[in-house]
Symmetry: C2
Subunit: 129 residues, 2 copies
Amino acid sequence: MTEDRKDRDASLPLPPDVEESLCRSGGIAGLVEQLPDDAALTRESTVHRALADPFRLKILAMLSVQPLCVCVIKAVLAIADSKLSYHLSVLKTAGLIAGDQQGNWIIYRLTEDGAMWAARPGNGPRQEG
Amino acid sequence: MTEDRKDRDASLPLPPDVEESLCRSGGIAGLVEQLPDDAALTRESTVHRALADPFRLKILAMLSVQPLCVCVIKAVLAIADSKLSYHLSVLKTAGLIAGDQQGNWIIYRLTEDGAMWAARPGNGPRQEG
DNA sequence: ACTGTATTTCAAATAATGTTGAAACACCAT
DNA sequence: ATGGTGTTTCAACATTATTTGAAATACAGT
């Protein structure tokens, strides 16, 4: 399929170390083949963006303990309703949490994805090292 | 130390399910104790922010194969020099990559942290399922 | 229907991040 | 020193994310 794997490096001058190991990787074409496709990268960057905020990480950590209604989360975070709602919507849109209505309340819980991202090195209770 | 663990939930009305399991978690105070501290959350959100971009994830994936000079990364990403430099600086600032000068080139590689974050579910080569 | 509580939505203001092209810097070879 | 190549920095601009307070929605009890 790819006709000229190694030839493509020939077009640009490289430091010796890189040239050698790149050659072993199958040249630039070989390197590219080992990368995730763009859709996967976009999907993953979306999750990271959703996790790129301390409030949201804290929400995830809380839900990691147990499902909670908004009012408890609000009591812990001590932020305005609308602000909390915004952060919840970011997490929900990213597919990390889901809310189930129960009477007057909405109880949020981790989704399968959310649980996967919450259970991660550096996410243990309290400081890590 | 914490004098009134369970009393604090008494102040706010909760859905029965949440109230019960929250009680088992030691009330709101008990829940809070299980959360990472703010410094840890901030630190982690910083890493996620650095990973919240497809270009940067692709760079990380590339360096996960082998160390590379900027010109090779540029050839794969096909973006302007200054743009690439910006994204490299974000990753470098987050402590995920480091650059070693070698003659005219700068060769970037994953740091220990970078390798840890690059080796992650959903980061395998090509689509995941 | 009406009230009260829990939560979300909206639009406007602010802040943070990403992009661009030009200029600067660092290094090697001459 | 000069010139060429690889890479970064800068400032202006464009885009996107976050915060805020007010208004809206949804539900339960009366």
